[in-house]
């Protein structure tokens, strides 16, 4: 069957089965920027934002979120119009294999949007659902801090 979902600020009819997870539905409908690392809610690769908050899309049944705003990493910036946060990730070297990056970027985005001047501790808490085995997280946390600094010094609002 096909149902309407609100994804990345547009309305989209997606193919799905009633027992499918949001992760499967998204990936089967070409949103391959949402990655699958464990399918058990334990790695955060499949993070999407639901009404602005990060969730593990592998732990969400798609049928239950028809009325919510779904945001994938492409919803905050694309290769052609990257978000400041995404640019800062690359600048800081927070991107190694990149498999966790969509989830990391979304978790960071959600944090900064709500709290543009997070403490280091608040960043660590916000990222506690996203595993990365490449970076040791040092440069990822740096990237979030650097973005916050840039927002602050340029009087920018997180969008």
């Amino acid at each position: 069957m096909k149902l309407e979902f609100k994804i990345n600020n547009t309305s989209k009819a997606l193919e799905l089965l009633p027992n499918e997870t949001l992760l499967n539905v998204l990936r089967n409908n070409d949103f391959t920027e949402v990655k699958c690392g464990c399918n058990e809610g334990e790695c955060g690769s499949c993070t999407v934002l639901l009404d602005g908050k990060p969730v593990n899309s592998c732990q969400v049944l798609a049928m239950s979120v028809q009325e919510k705003e779904i945001t994938t990493v492409k919803g905050i910036g694309t290769l052609y119009t990257p978000h400041l946060l995404q640019k800062t990730f690359v600048e800081a070297g927070a991107d190694q294999c990149g498999f966790c990056s969509p989830g990391m970027v979304l978790a960071s985005y959600s944090l900064l949007k709500e709290n543009p001047k997070p403490t280091r501790e608040e960043i660590l808490v916000a990222l506690d659902g996203n595993l990365c085995r490449c970076t040791g997280y040092v440069k990822i946390v740096d990237a979030v801090e650097n973005t916050a600094k840039k927002l602050h010094s340029n009087n920018l609002v997180m969008e």
């Binding site: 009633p18 027992n19 070409d30 049944l61 049928m63 239950s64 659902g129 595993l131």
Partner: protein, 314 residues
């Protein structure tokens, strides 16, 4: 029936991508939907979704065999969904709220862990509960796990039960006449095993209650071995009421009555703490990582630490 949305899930369509490799190894993608084998329905059981608007409607719906409530969905996806025939979504029941009135705080069952943490940060209330929940699972899961779902399922690593029991929480269950029972009764009566709809949790807003919670986990994202919670009330430093609970033990939870009795009418001194621990004897089962003895030993250390923390706060 007052069902907003309902359909049966027979679906023969599936997305297939047509990709052609070009000479450079880049794959051109195009989309093409194609009907696939009729047998697919054999695998995807006829799962039905219900989106009721009232608790009464939801209660009626879950009376059917194989039909259960859907809150955040995290536990349904952890367990096998194959036996489930229908899901009753609680999203439209207006159970996502936290109210404060008459020295009581009501937490709607569809509130997420994150909702509770935010409420606590804003109001400085429910800090014991919020502390436990903020260490549980992970940010994306805390945004999804509901209080009601978590109460109903009570996994052994639950971070929710010990603090709620210590806070003497009550829950309201939807029925012909809505029924309020203590959380302890909910567990002991076996009600937890029946099908029902939890509407809210009620916690006394008592500024004189001091409490603490500690869980054993080596790393942030790990199923904790146990969670111990203590809530104390004192008059002029003399303890008048004590509630001590631990989860993760044999039988899932333990109400540590002996330790409570010991503490009543005493002042928390080092000697009293030292003695109190002797009355704190939770029993654990060994698992593949830890022996029962180690868990017992460590739970005592944690209990002592908790009392030490509370000493200055009374």
């Amino acid at each position: 029936m007052l069902i907003l949305f309902r359909f049966s899930g027979i679906c023969l369509l599936r997305t297939i991508h047509l990709c052609l490799p070009d000479a450079g190894g880049v794959v051109l993608r195009d989309k093409n939907f194609r009907k696939i084998v009729e047998s697919i329905n054999m695998l995807h059981q006829n799962l039905e979704w219900f989106f009721p608007h009232t608790p009464e409607e939801a209660v009626k719906l879950i009376a059917a065999q194989g039909v259960i409530l859907h809150g955040g969905g995290t536990r349904i996806l952890k367990t096998s969904p194959k036996s489930i025939k229908g899901l009753v979504d609680v999203g439209k029941l207006n159970l996502n709220y936290i109210h404060h009135s008459d020295k009581q705080i009501s937490i709607g069952a569809a509130s997420t862990y994150d909702d509770v943490i935010r409420y606590s940060t804003k109001t400085k209330k429910l800090s014991l509960l919020a502390q436990a929940l903020s260490e549980a699972a992970s940010t994306p899961l805390r945004n999804r796990i509901t209080i009601g779902g978590s109460l109903k399922d009570f996994p052994i690593w639950s971070s929710l039960y010990a603090p709620l029991l210590a806070l003497n929480a009550q829950i309201e269950i939807a029925d012909k006449h809505d029924k309020v029972i203590s959380l302890e009764e909910y567990l002991e009566s076996g009600m937890i095993k029946t099908k029902h709809l939890i509407k809210r949790i009620i916690i006394d807003d008592d500024p004189h209650l001091v409490g603490g919670v500690k869980r054993f986990a080596l790393i942030r994202f790990e199923y904790p071995l146990f969670t111990v919670a203590v809530a104390l009330r004192a008059k002029k430093k003399i303890i008048s009421e004590a509630r001590i609970y631990i989860t993760g033990v044999k039988g899932r939870h333990k109400h540590c009555k002996r330790a409570e009795h010991f503490l009543i009418e005493k002042e928390l001194t080092n000697d009293v703490i030292h003695e109190a621990v002797k009355h704190f004897n939770p029993k654990f089962a060994a698992d593949y990582k830890y022996s029962a003895e180690y868990k017992e030993h460590t739970s005592k250390v944690f209990f002592t630490d908790l009392l030490q923390d509370l000493k200055g706060k009374l």
